[in-house]
């Protein structure tokens, strides 16, 4: 993220727009597993406001991760219309989706998914390799992102040298370095102990309140869900 965005956190925030940043209309996602048809999502409608912190909960197989993948542009719905950050992602091709993701979405994974041969700084830099920024600028922004998550002093450490909680925070830094509008988190506290989980959730909250990031989180953890402003419950592909 740039200096400007980081500084904005101190300024007074303007009122949140009423326009939903995510609009799902009649979203259906069907899978075929060996001639058997699975309707994981069936005609789902959902709106998510910009700047909100929302959670998706539900039992295994409820389709929450599938929905998250669709919103993040990792997958396309079988039917329905999906508009995210003003773009109709349900109609986009692979190449366009990839580009869109690299600019609009920040990912936080359950298993952290840092590249072990790279340092924390280099891991955070990764999304910026897809931009035209020069190396010095990339490094600068990565450093700032690490500062935001409080790990600037560990920037030359490899993932093996970090604790689980620290790894996830690096993951979060990677998710914000390119200043995306939306952060998508799939079970961000799934691998963490209570203490680290709290740190990570506090960080996510900060990103939402101070940096205006829209956060959509899938979780099993009630403590995580408690931090969200709205919790959507899914069961068998439908909102309940």
């Amino acid at each position: 993220m740039s200096e400007a965005t980081a500084e904005r956190s101190d300024a007074k925030k303007p009122a949140k727009t009423a326009r939903p940043i995510i609009e799902c209309r009649g979203i259906t996602r069907t899978f075929w597993r060996a001639k058997e048809r699975l309707d994981v999502l069936d005609g789902l409608d959902l709106d998510i406001a910009e700047g909100s912190f929302e959670a998706l909960m539900g039992p295994s197989g409820s389709g929450k991760t599938t929905l998250l993948n669709l919103i993040a542009g990792l997958d396309r719905p079988t039917a329905g219309k999906l508009v995210v950050a003003g773009t109709e992602v349900s109609a986009m091709g692979d190449a366009a989706l990839a580009r869109w993701r690299s600019q609009t979405i920040g990912f936080v994974f359950q298993h952290f998914n840092l590249i072990p041969v790279l340092t924390a700084l280099e891991n955070v830099e990764l999304p910026l390799l897809l931009t035209k920024l020069p190396a010095s600028e990339r490094k600068k922004r990565a450093q700032i992102a690490l500062r935001v998550v409080g790990l600037e002093d560990r920037m030359h450490h490899r993932p093996q040298q970090l604790s689980g909680g620290q790894e996830q925070r690096v993951g979060i830094a990677r998710a914000i370095v390119h200043d995306p509008k939306i952060i998508v988190a799939d079970e961000p506290t799934g691998e963490l102990d209570r203490h680290s989980a709290d740190d990570v959730l506090a960080l996510l909250e900060k990103l939402n309140t101070e940096f205006d990031k829209t956060i959509l989180m899938v979780t099993h953890d009630p403590a995580a869900a408690a931090r969200a402003t709205i919790v959507h419950k899914l069961d068998k592909g439908r909102l309940t």
Binding site: N69, A72, L74, D75, A95, A98, R99, R101, S102, Q103, F107, F109, H111, N113, I115, P116, V117, L118, E122, E125, L126, P127, L129, L130, A135
Partner: protein
């Protein structure tokens, strides 16, 4: 960090495997260089054989001699063959070292006055040449031979004759230096007159072959024909061809071995490809989830493919470099010198040709890229979500 940097850093995922693979590639390159250098050394005689110097031998077989009077057609006494500038003759002596009979070297009885005019690629210091010409029992030897038997100018040496039995005594009068790659640096040259006067009457005045130089290499074939035509009606007919052509014919006998070596060197590279490809494939399998993350972040399948191929090429170049690093001292200082000094007759020149080194490195990189091709292709077919879901 850059995309290229990321590619190279990826080899650090599993250091042990990377090191082993680099070693494997290095060994393959080393073997390849060794084999091709051997082939090249063998062919050097054929490649660098003099094109403007002809050998005239008995048509029936080179083992049989020519009458000495034939030489008079070459030196102008009875006529001159057009195109011939210098001529000389020599006999294969076939002598052996008195005690070290297992160590083969070529020895010839030659015409004193003309030999070194024709064989100008054997350079003798003028004072030594003069001394040799004065001494009937004089001998001039190659620098490699001098080293092999520890002979010096002024030494008395004895050779045991096989074709011409008996003990033959000589005085070393000079040492020649080869000015061309293909020249055998371990030859032993002495006077034909000394041989001839010690033979029984029925074996006298026979020469082994005539060597002549032509005014231009392009006329070699034509002059050869003219020479043979000259003696066509005689009882003893001749066969003339350039030295290079003669070497090539000789080499023909080894063609099967050279062909086999050629094939072996190529198969070695193919096997190297297999091992390298296997390593890369194993790495790709292990890093599926990582690739998933990269795809999620917005990297394209072609980026992933580039990473995989780049990794392969990096290992290929590292291995190739290491292989060459070992090859040079091993061959240039070790094996090469050994062969040149102890088997100088067979391998007058044993050195890594620059083309071979370049070919080795180029091959390493190219084959590595091809070997990484299939794993790279497979990696492009990864589905983001499946890849992400796969457990590390």
């Amino acid at each position: 960090m850059t995309l290229a940097g990321l590619t190279v850093k990826n080899i650090g995922h599993n250091w042990l495997r990377t090191v082993l693979t680099v070693l494997g590639v290095a060994i393959a390159i080393l073997s390849f260089v060794l084999i091709r250098t051997t082939i090249d050394a063998w062919e050097t005689a054929a490649k660098h054989g003099a094109q403007d110097r002809l050998s005239t031998i008995n048509r029936v077989t080179f083992v049989m001699p020519l009458p000495k009077r034939y030489f008079q057609e070459f030196n102008g006494e009875r006529g001159k063959i057009e195109g011939v500038t210098h001529a000389t003759w020599a006999n294969w002596f076939g002598g052996k070292h008195a005690t070290r009979e297992g160590e083969f070297f070529a020895n010839f009885a030659v015409d004193t006055d003309s030999y070194f005019d024709v064989y100008q690629d054997m350079a003798v210091p003028p004072d030594q040449l003069a001394a040799w010409k004065e001494d009937r029992q004089g001998a001039i030897i190659g620098e490699a031979l001098a080293k092999q038997f520890d002979w010096n100018v002024g030494d008395d040496v004895t050779l045991v004759g096989t074709i011409y039995p008996g003990e033959w005594k000589f005085h070393i009068r000079g040492i020649y230096v080869a000015t061309k790659k293909s020249v055998d640096r371990a030859q032993f040259i002495f006077h034909w007159d000394y041989l001839n006067e010690n033979l029984p009457p029925d074996r006298r005045d026979m020469i082994g072959w005539i060597a002549s130089t032509v005014d231009s290499a392009g006329r070699a074939a034509a002059v050869s024909e003219a020479i043979d035509k000259e003696f066509d009606d005689e009882d003893v007919q001749t066969r003339t061809m350039s030295e290079q052509a003669m070497n090539k014919e000789f080499l023909g006998g080894a063609s099967a071995i050279l062909g086999a070596l050629d094939i072996v060197s190529l198969i070695i590279m193919l096997i190297m490809m297999l091992v390298l490809g296997n390593t890369i494939a194993m790495g790709v399998r292990e890093r599926t989830q990582e690739y998933g993350v990269l795809l999620a972040l917005g990297f394209r399948p072609r980026h992933i493919a580039a990473f995989v191929v780049g990794e392969g090429v990096t290992i290929g170049l590292l291995g190739g470099g290491l292989g060459l690093l070992i090859a040079y001292p091993l061959i240039e200082q070790g094996v090469g010198r050994f062969l040149e000094e102890n088997m100088g007759a067979w391998f007058p020149y044993f050195s890594i040709p620059p083309e071979v080194a370049a070919m080795a490195l180029g091959f390493a990189a190219l084959l590595a890229a091809i070997a990484a091709g299939i794993p790279a292709y497979r990696a492009t077919k990864l589905d983001v979500i499946d890849a992400l879901r796969r457990l590390a």
